[in-house]
């Protein structure tokens, strides 16, 4: 597996738990508040991964403390948001960790494919 010194920085965060990875994915395309993250994860996974208020904020706290996400002080466009809600965005570290996790998963899938454990992707 090719590695470089930069990868080592992210290695300490890997592997991510599925729930953590899904939260990073949810924030990959822009800042969101908690409920929006939760909804996106449910929709994107067709309800297979279900986060709740009880688990989501434990994940947010851990991601925040490790610097992968941060709470944004400035709100998105005025009038478009609910001012009482707290919004989170992906940090550069978070983005890199998410990418590293994605490529880790990709490599794993490749390995499985080499062993014919994965069907070839169908052509659209």
């Amino acid at each position: 597996m090719p590695t470089n010194s930069k990868d080592h920085i992210f290695d300490e965060h890997l592997p991510l738990t599925p729930a953590l990875f899904h939260v990073l994915l949810a924030l990959a395309d822009g800042e969101k508040h908690g409920y929006a993250i939760l909804k996106e994860v449910t929709q994107r996974t067709n309800g297979k991964v279900k986060l709740s208020a009880g688990t989501l904020y434990g994940i947010i706290k851990r991601l925040d403390e490790s610097g992968m996400i941060s709470e944004i002080a400035a709100r998105p466009e005025i009038g478009m948001d609910d001012e009482r809600r707290r919004y989170y965005r992906l940090t550069e570290l978070g983005r890199q960790v998410a990418m590293a996790e994605a490529s880790r998963l990709e490599e794993m899938v490749e390995m499985a494919r080499a062993k014919r454990l994965v069907r070839k992707p169908r052509l659209a």
């Binding site: 908690g34 409920y35 208020a53 009880g54 688990t55 989501l56 904020y57 434990g58 809600r85």
Partner: protein
């Protein structure tokens, strides 16, 4: 949310959120609640009730997963932080851990004894059902009369409430065929004895009914200790044979290590193998009593029912055998719980020691709380900065409690080490009171106790310091004036802690002082004879060789002739037992009835009782027992001569009051033989210095031969003659076993072992308490001086003399000490009464003790205040003012 009316769901959600740490709730609580409401609303609209339930389920399980994880994270952080702080303040940490370690150690050690002796069930199956059956003659003032064989049979066959009734007595036999004749303490039991207790041999088998038939081959069960210590733990021991009482005995099994009651035996034999128990005179004589009786209550039967059943049988016996149970004797029979019998002697001492250890722990707690409070003053800024950086109050309190718990746990660890180190000493101590001492160990219950003690102490001292840190946190960053009020509050608490420490120390010192004075009084009690330079030993002749009284008289004569010629021997005597003989101390004095000539018993009058002892002519001279009246035994008091007796002063006073007993005749065999009283000797306290002298009747050895003990007075250290005397005894009869060879002075010291150890332990606890209280007072005064340096500087600048400052500080320390002493005196008045049963001839409120303790504590308070007072008096006003 604040505008919305809180629904039940909201309240339930808030309640469920309590699973999370408060900081977490503070950070994310509102946000979580909002998300939960959004989820709830959406699920309810789209999926109805089922959707709503699914949201609840996922949320609650999520909270239950997140809560512990978050708590764990905080705990890890707090522990790491606490470890850093403890390393930084190593002095404080060491003193706190040491103080708590000693406190918890003292408690754990005593608790390990209490647990094994008083709390644990007996190590027998359904041990609560086991009872000791006793006969009593309340009219005679005798609470424990042994059973005769016919009595055992009557109670066994007639009772309806006991599942088994087995007999026991103990004898000393001589085991031959080894290098030296070996005296073995032998328990003689009926066949079902071990089945009754549920004790199964670890090797071989137990007794069977056929072993107990007359003429059955002699068999032995050996105790675990005897097997290990004297037989080398031989795994092939079953089937091996020994010669005893001129018969071959085969070992059939080895018993497990269980407490043996009422005394420890080396081996056990069935009743058929005991030459005394199986003799016809013993089997048929209702008045030949030598057995103890044990039983097991049937399932579902109460002790009340058992006693009623036994009372019925006793009533029947009184009717059927009026001669054996005279009306005035108040004969009865009752059952006593074996567990209670095994431990009743130890209970008061152990409970007093546990209470004393508890006080030591409380004092230790107060000391550590004081240290914590003093340290809190130094940590004000640190806590305030952390608070300003966002740490909530509860988070800081939690941090402080974590530190307390870690210190207490380290203390518990140290305490456990202390306790396990003292285990051997404690087992030796407890074995003086109870056969259960062998069960003392550090088991999981003791570990739990140490843990609980640590938790309780950390809660006591931790919450005190945490409570005052609230003010610290809120006032730390404010001006000095703001902090002053919290500092005053802390000062008050510290003073209260010191006062309570002094009060508890007073209580402990008073308890220790009383025990010590009581012990000193005991050592000064005159036993009634000269115990120095006397060697005594039990002589166990081979029963099989000596079947007639005159053979014993001959043995006694030969032994005395040989021993008296040994250089260094002043005089020698033979008697049935010797004063302070350990074997006699276990069983206490054995009383028997006697008649006084021409003084028939009136109706309902109780027959007089006394203890008996056969003694050779030089018995009184050898022991230095004074002859008060008449003459001692001489060689002329032979078997053929008229029978004579000597009584002690107690018996003379009891039965003849002011009349001269000399010349009166008494009989111990219902008038068959009459003995003339020829002398009165002084009283001796030979069954323990703390009990009054019993009535004693001595008979001449030649007339009632009984070779039980040899007593030798020597010119110098008696132990130097031990080997030569032993040799001379073997020369007379090589089959004689010699046991309990010791100086009477040593035997007397042994009877004082338990009061000495109790006084020592109390002394150690009191010493710990005194040191802690003194350092507590010294500590608080030092802190006060350093806090008031500015004020003292001003006073001195305004002309206050150093001596005035010195007095001021000393006075403050003394006020705390005196307040504590005042409370201590009151508590002592109330509590030392509990010590009453352990004290000998001393009042629990003995004024001399209380005054001495007061002086000691005042002295300790002055000494501990001297250094801070001197420091205050030597403050340079200029430096002090500049310092501020």
């Amino acid at each position: 949310m604040p505008d919305e009316k809180r629904s039940k769901s909201d309240r339930l959600f808030r309640l469920a959120m309590k699973a999370l740490p408060s900081d977490f709730r503070g950070d994310y609580g509102n946000e979580m609640h909002r998300v939960f409401n959004d989820q709830r609303r959406e699920a309810s609209e789209k999926e109805g009730f089922a959707g709503l339930m699914a949201v609840w389920w996922e949320t609650l399980t999520g909270l239950l997963k997140t809560g512990p994880r978050e708590h764990w994270e905080i705990l890890k952080q707090d522990c790491a932080y606490a470890a850093r702080m403890m390393r930084k303040n190593l002095g404080f940490t060491l003193i706190a851990v040491l103080t708590l370690g000693l406190g918890i150690g003292a408690n754990t050690a005593i608790f390990s004894v209490v647990n094994a002796v008083l709390l644990k069930p007996l190590p027998y199956p359904k041990g609560k059902q086991l009872v000791v059956v006793r006969q009593a003659a309340t009219g005679q003032g005798v609470a424990d009369i042994a059973f005769s064989v016919p009595e055992v049979n009557d109670y066994r066959t007639q009772n309806k409430t006991l599942a088994g009734l087995e007999e026991y007595h103990t004898m000393t036999f001589t085991l031959l065929g080894r290098e030296e004749p070996l005296r073995v303490q032998t328990g003689v039991v009926s066949a079902g004895f071990f089945d009754l207790f549920g004790v199964k041999p670890i090797l071989g088998r137990s007794f069977r009914p056929e072993d107990d038939q007359v003429g059955a081959p002699a068999v032995l069960l050996v105790s675990y200790e005897f097997w290990k210590n004297s037989l080398g733990g031989d795994p092939q021991i079953v089937g091996k044979t020994f010669r005893m009482n001129d018969r071959v005995h085969t070992v059939i099994g080895v018993l497990p290590p269980v407490p043996q009651y009422p005394n420890e035996n080396d081996v056990y034999m069935p009743t058929s193998a005991c030459p005394f128990r199986s003799s016809e005179s013993m089997r048929d004589n209702r008045d030949s009593r030598m057995m103890n009786v044990f039983g097991r209550e049937r399932d579902g039967v109460t002790s009340h029912q058992v006693n009623a059943d036994l009372a019925t049988i006793a009533g029947r016996l009184k009717q059927d055998y009026p001669k054996s149970y005279p009306a005035g004797d108040g004969y009865s029979a009752s059952a006593f719980s074996l567990q209670n019998e095994l431990t009743k002697q130890a209970r008061p001492t152990l409970l007093v020691l546990l209470a004393a250890a508890g006080f030591v722990l409380l004092i230790a707690c107060a000391n550590v709380a004081n240290l914590m409070l003093a340290r809190m003053a130094q940590r004000e800024r640190e806590l305030a900065v952390r608070s300003a950086l966002g740490a909530g109050q509860s988070r800081l309190l939690r941090q402080l409690l974590t530190e307390s718990v870690i210190i207490a746990l380290l203390g518990a660890l140290l305490g456990l080490l202390c306790a396990s180190g003292s285990l051997e000493l404690l087992t030796g101590f407890a074995s003086r009171f109870t056969p259960r001492a062998r069960e003392i160990r550090i088991d999981y219950i003791v570990l739990l106790f140490a843990l609980a003690a640590a938790m309780a102490t950390s809660v006591v001292f931790g919450s005190l310091s945490a409570f005052f840190s609230r003010e610290t946190v809120s006032s730390g960053l404010k001006e000095a004036t703001g902090a002053a009020s919290s500092s005053r509050g802390r000062h008050r608490v510290r003073s209260l802690l010191i006062i309570s420490q002094v009060a508890f120390s007073f209580l402990l010192l008073a308890g220790a002082g009383l025990m010590l004075r009581s012990f000193v009084r005991l050592t000064k009690v005159s036993p009634g004879f000269v115990s120095q330079n006397v060697l005594a030993m039990d002589i166990n002749a081979n029963f099989a060789k000596y079947t007639k009284p005159e053979q014993y008289a001959g043995l006694a004569q030969r032994l005395l002739e040989s021993v008296k010629t040994e250089p260094g021997v002043v005089s020698a005597a033979i008697s049935s037992s010797f004063p302070f003989d350990p074997d006699s101390i276990i069983f206490g004095p054995q009383f028997g009835t006697f008649d006084i000539e021409s003084r028939p018993l009136k109706d309902g009058e109780v027959q007089p009782i006394t203890t008996f002892r056969s003694a050779s002519p030089d018995y009184f001279r050898t022991l230095g027992i004074p002859m008060i009246k008449g003459r001692t035994f001489t060689n002329q008091d032979s078997r053929e001569a008229p029978k004579v007796a000597i009584i002690n002063q107690a018996l003379a006073k009891h039965r003849w009051q002011n009349e001269d007993p000399i010349g009166h005749r008494v009989s111990v065999d219902n008038g068959k033989t009459w003995m003339a009283i020829i002398g009165v000797v002084g009283d001796t306290k030979e069954f323990g210095l703390d009990r009054p002298a019993d009535d004693e009747l001595f008979v001449a050895l030649d007339q009632f031969p009984n070779v039980g003990s040899l007593i030798v007075r020597t010119m110098s250290d008696p132990m130097t003659l031990a080997r030569d005397l032993r040799r001379r005894i073997y020369e007379v009869d090589a089959d004689t076993a010699i046991t309990n060879m010791e100086t009477i002075e040593h035997a007397r010291g042994a009877t004082l072992t338990s009061p000495r150890l109790t006084a020592n332990l109390m002394g150690v606890f009191a010493g710990l308490a005194l040191v802690m209280a003194a350092t507590g007072i010294g500590g608080i005064m030092a802190l006060t001086v350093s806090q008031r340096m500015h004020e003292i500087g001003i006073r001195m600048a305004l002309g206050a003399r150093p001596s005035a400052v010195l007095t001021m500080v000393l006075r403050q320390g003394l006020v705390l000490g005196l307040a504590g002493i005042a409370i201590g005196v009151l508590a002592t008045m109330g509590l030392t009464r509990l010590l009453q049963t352990l004290l000998f001839e001393i009042s629990p409120t003995d004024p001399a003790t209380l005054v001495s303790v007061t002086c000691v504590l005042i002295g300790a308070a002055i000494v501990s205040c001297v250094v801070p007072a001197w420091r205050a008096a030597s403050i340079d006003p200029l430096v002090a003012l500049r310092f501020e």
